[in-house]
Symmetry: C2
Subunit: 185 residues, 2 copies
DNA sequence: AGCTTGTGCTTGAAAGGTAAACTATGACGC
DNA sequence: GCGTCATAGTTTACCTTTCAAGCACAAGCT
């Protein structure tokens, strides 16, 4: 006896009837199925893509750590302020502090004071970090290809980016720039 | 100086030139942007949707725990074998053991021996668990609506499901059934 | 029966993540 | 310049996940 199932036939899931309660606007069976598939697919995809990077003994980088390196490598001067970096990779500040501390211990990046604002810190990619990233990048890209692009095609990937882009608020950090150029909707 | 950027103009990212090395078939700028947006969007979305459930003091359920309850509630007899459940929610066996142990301690489910195979265990949803799920479901659905469906529309959601479905292998557990019924591609 | 191998799940320690308190700096009012 | 408040990061304690054994039952062999 499913809990999250809508009984209304195919419908557009309108706001609920006019009694007082803020009644649950359930998802239609179709929506529900799509959401489940999406969630399962994303979980599996992330699992696979993380694994590709982690299992390679040359790196010892999680996908999250890799993302940090990528962001840094693309930033001017290879440096980004901690809080901004945290937002970009969607981590709590605390989590970023821990992760960056580990990476710093490995010599992959450094932390320096912000000039002009003594409170802030910037993470700066070291040459070793850059070298590691250069080694890891092809492996990562290959796994994105094999697990995602090969399955859904370039068009599918562009659509995924296009649609997910619509969930991202206007004032979100970075990313939105390169979203879509000439995808015909 | 970006590491993961393709220099070839707009291109279709063909397999590489004929020298020996398994050269990295980079992503085009478009693909790259889409992947980034997708990744960022998914991270943010999961963050938001988890938070909605976790912040409600009535439940104290992570999204992963919630997913476990949903799967159980939909299974015949409210029971699923541990390994199958692990696959369905994309957790390691160890992780599922720990999580289920915690849920069991809270009286939300029970673990019983499989009849016929003494090695296996089944997780069984208790009445309390079912009650909790019934309470939590509307909250979860509401957050999926507000963070995803309201942003991308029903059509967008169906497309997400459709496309992500293509990344899921044939022999994957469950989910694939309800993927799409009459989405025109 | 008695081994050996395989499978299903659990355990326990270490690594990683979360949440709340804490430190250090800057900003503002007076 | 001094008190208050806000902001940026870090620290600490606790909880969760991972990783590498480990235990229990099943299955096959001889």
């Amino acid at each position: 006896m499913p809990v999250t199932e809508d009984t209304r036939s195919g419908g557009t899931s309108a706001a609920d009837d006019a009694n007082g309660t803020p009644e649950a606007p359930w998802l239609s069976a179709e929506e529900q199925g799509a959401w489940r598939t999406f969630l399962y697919g994303v979980n599996l995809l992330m699992e696979n893509i993380s694994a590709a990077l982690e299992q390679d003994p040359r790196f010892d980088l999680s996908l999250d750590e890799y993302e940090i390196l990528v962001r840094l490598s693309e930033a001017p001067g290879g440096r980004i302020r901690m809080s901004s970096l945290a937002d970009q990779v969607v981590h709590s500040r605390s989590r970023l502090t821990h992760t960056v501390a580990r990476l710093e211990k490995r010599g992959i990046l450094e932390r320096v004071r912000c000039t002009g604002d003594g409170r802030g810190r910037e993470a700066v990619l070291t040459d070793e970090g850059m070298a590691l990233l250069r080694e890891a990048a092809p492996v990562h890209v290959a796994s994105v290809r094999s697990h995602l692009v090969d399955a859904v095609g370039t068009q599918g990937l562009l659509e995924l980016g296009q649609i997910m882009g619509r969930t991202i608020p206007e004032d979100a950090p970075v990313t939105r720039g390169t979203v879509t150029s000439d995808v015909k909707d």
